[in-house]
Structure formats: structure tokens, C-alpha cells
């Protein structure tokens, strides 16, 4: 991947906002394991960036290097324009919320929040008022006297956020602090993060493996896999214009149909051949476009496929396939159909019906037709 995030970075530069964090060609090796490879990105002041990737993709390592707990094997990190390799964590102005929170169990909630102020030798007279203000910010007013183990998981979360923010750091780092919470609380806290971040305008880097979280909270998403940055873009672009098959696969539910490239046009139209079938699509990654005669795969999102009992209903769509329903999964707000299509060797295509109450339902074993538009299929080499 050659600078797959280039477009995103230059857009920021054009915006003319001050850059808070620059990660330049940063790599990290643990005796032979390349945990992070040649990572680069810029983060303008006040923005909320999420590093999204599967477990073991190097997210924590990258975050720990920014926080100063680890020194990059190569490359350099700049905070507010200054190289920070030689600056220890306690001299960086960074608030961090850890994966397991790392609250001090021998202190009360208020003492935890007061800790960074005390360590930074702030005027003792202003500390209580400030602690109370930040506890109120995370909606924990009046809970200051509680010990950590007397608080619920969500409340502990809030204490950790208040502690990381109370000294007004230049940068807030979040290392999957929501991963351990149940879904309802997690979604509540995601919105909470977004509210607080907007209220204070603090530059934030969040790490998660939860694609939904990344889409909900972020201004920008950096997608990582195997230590490499795959794409940096806004959530909507990450979702609609994934730069490669990994990103397309990791975010959302995507069907891949592999084939051979038949033609590539100047305008970005591609057609691929799969058996007797020709599928039309768009170039997914302009930096690394599919080549005529080469292998490629077409990616189509489950929600962009229409399902019908007869082909005539799908006549407005560019591509129509016949298939058989092999499974139906009811997920409450949507129905998921798994359809085997003979034309592509009985490969299974997943289709969402987002309004099952309003549409005709299909049963397992029923013959159906699938259809989609060529512009919705992205072709990656």
C-alpha cells in the first residue's frame, strides 16, 4: 500500500488547521515482530481520530508510542510540531484512558481526579473546585467521596475520563476503554465521549476494534491491519469508499465476488468476468487499480442488494442474479438472508432487508433474485 491515506491528509492541510499530532514513518519492532510498520498521519487540533483494526494489528503499540511509554524503532512523532522521542510520558501533556482504566484503587474518585493536578503542582486552592467541575462534566457530581470499588463500571469509566481531562492536556488518548462494557452502556459511553470531546474541543485519539464505535464517534478513522495503516478518512468515506478489500471487509458486511478483469475504462468503470457472468463495477482504489487480465474481486455491501421473488421487479438494476435462500437470520431491526447463487458457483451472498415488516419474507429453500447497481460494486485487485 503506497500512502493509501494521502487524500485524507492533504484535505486537512488544505483546511489550514493547526496540526496537533504528526506521526511520520513510525515503526515498532519487538524482536522480529513488526508491530507497527511505517505509519504516517497528521491529526489537526481539536479533531477526534479513531484507530480501528482487529486485535493484534498494532493499535495499542502505536498509541503507547504517542503517549511515550514506548520509543519507536524508527520514525518520529511530533506533538504541536515538536519531536517527542526524548520526552518521557510525564513531561508530555497527554491524558490517557487505559484499556483497563488503571484507576488508583486506594484513592477516592475525587482523589483520582485530583492526582494529575497535584502531580503537575497546580495551585492547591483551585484543585477542589476544578475536580468538582470535571466530575460534573462526566455527570458524577457528588460522587467524589466514593471509593473506586464502590462505583459501577460505567461510573468508573467516567472517573477515568475526568482524570485524563482535568489537567487540560493537549491530547486525549483512549485505548479501547469501552471494550469491557455491555453493549447498551458502551453505546451510551460512545455518545458521552463525543459530547465531552466536542464540549472541550480536545484533540483525541481513540483506539478500538469496534467498527460501529469508530463510525459513531470519530471525525477521522485510521484503519490498521497487521501493523500497517490501510486508510485514513472520514467515517462516511471509510464506509462508502474503502481503499482496499481489507477495509471493505472489516467495516460493514460485504460480499466479495472474485473474477478476472475484462476491461478498465478511463472513467473508473471496471468489468470482471466470473464464469459466464460479467459484473460491472467501479475502481475501488485509484492508487492501486485492477489491471486488465489480472485477478480482482468485486465488493458489494449486504444492504445495497435488493431481493425479489421475480426478476421483473429488479429490472431497473444493473446486475441481477438468481439464487436460493439457504438461511434467514432475524436480527430485530433487520433480516439477513443468505442466498446461494448458481452463477457464481453456489457462493453465498448476504443480503439485508432493513424493513422486514414492510417487505415480503422469503423462506429457506425459496428461489429468489438478487440485484444491485454497478456503481455500488467496488473492484479491488
Amino acid at each position: 500500500m503506497q500512502e493509501p491515506f494521502r487524500a485524507g491528509a492533504s484535505r486537512e492541510a488544505e483546511g489550514g488547521r493547526e496540526i496537533a499530532v504528526t506521526v511520520r514513518n513510525v515503526g515498532m519492532d519487538f524482536d522480529g515482530i513488526h508491530a507497527v510498520k511505517n505509519a504516517s498521519f497528521d491529526l489537526p487540533k481539536g479533531r477526534f481520530l479513531t484507530i480501528l483494526g482487529p486485535s493484534g494489528s498494532g493499535k495499542t503499540t502505536l498509541l503507547r508510542m504517542i503517549a511515550g511509554f514506548q520509543t519507536p524503532s524508527s520514525g518520529e512523532i511530533f506533538i504541536n510540531g515538536e519531536a517527542v522521542s526524548a520526552v518521557p510520558p510525564h513531561k508530555r501533556s497527554i491524558g490517557m484512558v487505559f484499556q483497563r482504566l488503571a484507576l488508583f484503587p486506594h484513592m477516592t474518585a475525587a482523589e483520582n481526579v485530583a492526582f494529575p493536578l497535584k502531580m503537575r503542582r497546580r495551585d492547591a486552592r483551585t484543585i477542589p473546585e476544578r475536580v468538582e467541575r470535571y466530575l460534573a462534566l462526566v455527570r458524577l457530581g457528588g460522587y467524589g467521596g466514593r471509593r473506586i470499588h464502590e462505583l459501577s463500571g460505567g461510573q468508573q469509566q467516567r472517573v477515568a475520563i475526568a482524570r485524563a481531562l482535568v489537567f487540560e492536556p493537549d491530547l486525549l488518548l483512549l485505548d479501547e476503554p469501552l471494550a469491557a462494557l455491555d453493549r447498551k452502556l458502551r453505546e451510551e459511553m460512545q455518545l458521552e465521549f463525543r459530547r465531552i470531546q466536542r464540549e472541550l474541543g480536545v484533540t483525541t485519539i481513540n483506539v478500538t476494534h469496534d467498527q460501529r464505535e469508530a463510525l459513531v464517534v470519530s471525525d477521522d478513522i485510521v484503519v490498521m491491519d497487521q501493523g500497517e495503516i490501510q486508510q485514513k478518512a472520514r467515517p462516511i468515506h471509510t464506509y462508502r469508499q474503502p481503499r482496499n478489500a481489507f477495509v471493505a471487509n472489516f467495516i460493514g458486511v460485504t460480499n466479495f465476488i472474485a473474477g478476472t478483469v475484462r476491461s478498465v475504462s478511463e472513467g473508473g468503470d471496471v468489468s470482471i468476468l466470473r464464469g459466464a457472468l460479467t459484473l460491472a463495477g467501479k475502481i475501488g482504489d485509484p492508487v492501486n487499480p485492477p489491471a486488465e487480465g489480472g485477478k480482482a474481486s468485486g465488493a458489494i455491501r449486504a444492504e445495497q442488494i435488493r431481493l425479489a421473488g421475480d426478476a421483473a421487479q429488479l429490472s431497473k438494476l444493473d446486475c441481477v442474479l438468481a439464487g436460493t435462500v439457504i438461511d434467514t437470520i432475524f436480527e430485530g431491526e433487520r433480516m439477513v438472508y443468505e442466498v446461494a447463487c448458481a452463477a457464481i458457483g453456489d457462493e453465498v451472498i448476504r443480503v439485508f432487508d432493513h424493513d422486514p415488516a414492510a417487505h415480503k419474507q422469503f423462506d429457506i429453500g425459496e428461489s429468489v433474485f438478487l440485484g444491485w447497481n454497478a456503481r455500488d460494486m467496488l473492484v479491488f485487485r
Binding site: A67, G68, I94, F104, H106, F115, M119
Partner: protein
């Protein structure tokens, strides 16, 4: 067949057989008595100790008639009066107590970095080395080790020879108070490290990283985070080192060469040299009392909960 064997391994079959035997000997209806049965050996041991203490208390109240070498039939507190007034015993008691306090403080200071490094090092090899170095002295035993120090620190010992090479006249490095303190610290270090290590292991490393990111340098991280959280370990190690030092016999006997007796040495003298078992018993009781008061004081000051006893509060 093979699948069956892996699904129900031999270990489980043996356990089944043992459980069958146990059920035959100790039927289920006795089960409510099981916990008490398990307590029995400990209760018996403590009971024996109490019996011994009663015997010693009895002996401490009888005085020795130095002409007949008979013990009086009637009780008196003469032995206690002697123990509390004779300057020799006061000197010995004070020497033991001061030594115990110094040794405890010095040992904890030395043991902490050792335990910390052992727990926190990323190198498994270094951890193994530190563990072995810690356990090796245990295999050698206290008496042999004390003799070893005599050889090393003696007038013709390695240390004095090395000093001679740089032109320093031989010094008396043994048979004095510092030598005893040195020997005790060296002897206590492994105990303290072994009691500190689990307490340090229980402190998540992330807490120290968090303190760093919140603006604390390592000194302040140590003072505000590691030290308070390691308190149970310090209390436990401190109590063990304090009582072991206070009651030690071999190190003062060997490295002190008779000039640096501790309470235990004085008791030994009463029992086996002057054969005044009454006074010996009195000194022994007072040592028990002193130790109990010290431990009680520690618990009163820091709370027994700090030994991680009782249900965890965290």
C-alpha cells in the same frame, strides 16, 4: 476407544477411585464435620504450644536456690524483678530491640528494589537468576552462612586482605554490633523479598504507566502509587523480619562472638549454662510478650486488613 480415553483421562479415573474410598471412610452425612476435622491438626499444634507456654509460665514463677540447686515450691515474682532490674538483661533487651528495628528498616529498603526488579523485569532470564540467587542462601543454612562470614570478614579474611592490597591496615570486622546487623540483614533479605514480591505482582503495571501519563515522575509514582498499594507486603515482610531478628540466636552468637548477645542467647545461657530454668523461662515469656506487643502495635497502627486478611476491599 482412543477418543474415550482422552475424553475421560486417567487422572479423572484415579480421582473417582479416591473419592469412592473417601466416601467409604467418611460418609456424606459426616460432611458437615469435615472443615473442623481439617482444622484439627492446627488446633492440636497450637494447643501444644499453649501447654508449653503454661509450663514455662509455671517455671518462671519459681526461683532457683543456688545452694541446693532446687526450685522453690511456692510462687514468687522474683525472677521478673531480676529480669527487669539487672542491667545485663536490660542491655541485652535493648540491643535486640534496636537491632530488630534497624535490621527491619534496612532489609525492607534493600528488599524492595530487588523484589520490584524481579517482578517487573521483562527478561525471564534475569527473573530466574534473581530467584535462584534468592533461594541459594536458604539451602546453605543460617549457621554455615554465619561461619562463612567469619571466614570472609576475619582478620586474615578476604576483605582484610583486599584492604591490605590498597594499604589499609587490618580492621576488626567481626565480633561487633555492625557485624551482627550485617549478618541479620543478609539472612532476612530473602524472607522480605519473598513476602514483598506477591504484593508487587498484585499491582497492575498499568497503574504506574497511568501515573506517568498523569504527570508523576518515578519518585512520585513510587510514593503515591506503588508504596501505598504495596503496604500489605511491607507490613507482612516487616512483621516477619522484625520477629525473626528479635528472636535470632545463631547470628549474634557466631558473628557477635559472645560479646553481642541477644535475648535468645541470654535465655540459652540461663537454661544451659547457669541452669536457672526459672529465670530462663521468665526471659522467654518476656520475649514472647515483647514480640506480641510489637506485632500488636503494627496491626493497631496499620490494621490487620493490610495483610490482605479478611475479604478484599478493593
Amino acid at each position: 476407544m482412543r477418543a474415550a480415553r482422552t475424553a475421560y483421562p486417567l487422572k479423572w479415573r484415579i480421582m473417582d477411585a479416591l473419592e469412592g474410598i473417601a466416601a467409604a471412610i467418611w460418609p456424606a452425612r459426616f460432611r458437615r464435620a469435615t472443615p473442623y476435622l481439617m482444622l484439627l491438626p492446627a488446633v492440636l499444634l497450637v494447643g501444644l504450644l499453649v501447654l508449653g507456654l503454661i509450663q514455662i509460665a509455671d517455671a518462671s514463677l519459681r526461683t532457683l536456690d543456688t545452694t541446693t540447686f532446687q526450685f522453690s515450691d511456692d510462687y514468687s515474682i522474683a525472677n521478673f524483678r531480676r529480669a527487669l532490674t539487672e542491667p545485663l538483661f536490660l542491655v541485652v533487651a535493648q540491643r535486640s530491640l534496636v537491632a530488630a528495628l534497624i535490621v527491619t528498616a534496612v532489609t525492607l529498603v534493600f528488599a524492595f528494589p530487588y523484589a520490584y526488579l524481579m517482578v517487573r523485569t521483562r527478561s525471564p532470564r534475569l527473573r530466574k537468576f534473581l530467584l535462584i540467587a534468592l533461594f541459594l542462601p536458604f539451602f546453605i543454612g543460617q549457621v554455615v552462612r554465619a561461619y562463612g562470614w567469619l571466614i570472609i570478614l576475619g582478620n586474615q579474611g578476604m576483605v582484610n586482605e583486599a584492604l591490605g592490597l590498597i594499604g589499609v591496615a587490618p580492621m576488626r570486622l567481626i565480633y561487633n554490633y555492625p557485624a551482627v546487623l550485617f549478618g541479620l540483614v543478609q539472612y532476612m533479605l530473602p524472607f522480605a523479598v519473598l513476602m514483598l514480591a506477591p504484593a508487587l505482582t498484585a499491582i497492575p503495571e498499568e497503574l504506574e504507566a497511568a501515573a506517568g501519563s498523569l504527570g508523576a515522575n518515578w519518585v512520585r509514582t513510587f510514593i503515591h502509587v506503588v508504596l501505598p498499594l504495596a503496604r500489605p507486603g511491607f507490613i507482612g515482610a516487616g512483621v516477619v523480619v522484625l520477629t525473626l531478628s528479635l528472636t535470632d540466636f545463631a547470628v549474634p552468637a557466631i558473628l557477635g562472638g559472645g560479646s553481642q548477645d541477644f535475648i535468645a542467647n541470654a535465655i540459652y545461657d540461663q537454661f544451659f549454662r547457669t541452669s536457672d530454668q526459672g529465670l530462663g523461662a521468665t526471659l522467654a515469656l518476656m520475649l514472647v510478650a515483647l514480640g506480641s506487643i510489637l506485632v500488636g502495635l503494627v496491626f493497631a497502627l496499620f490494621g490487620a486488613g493490610t495483610l490482605a486478611m479478611g475479604r478484599s476491599r478493593a
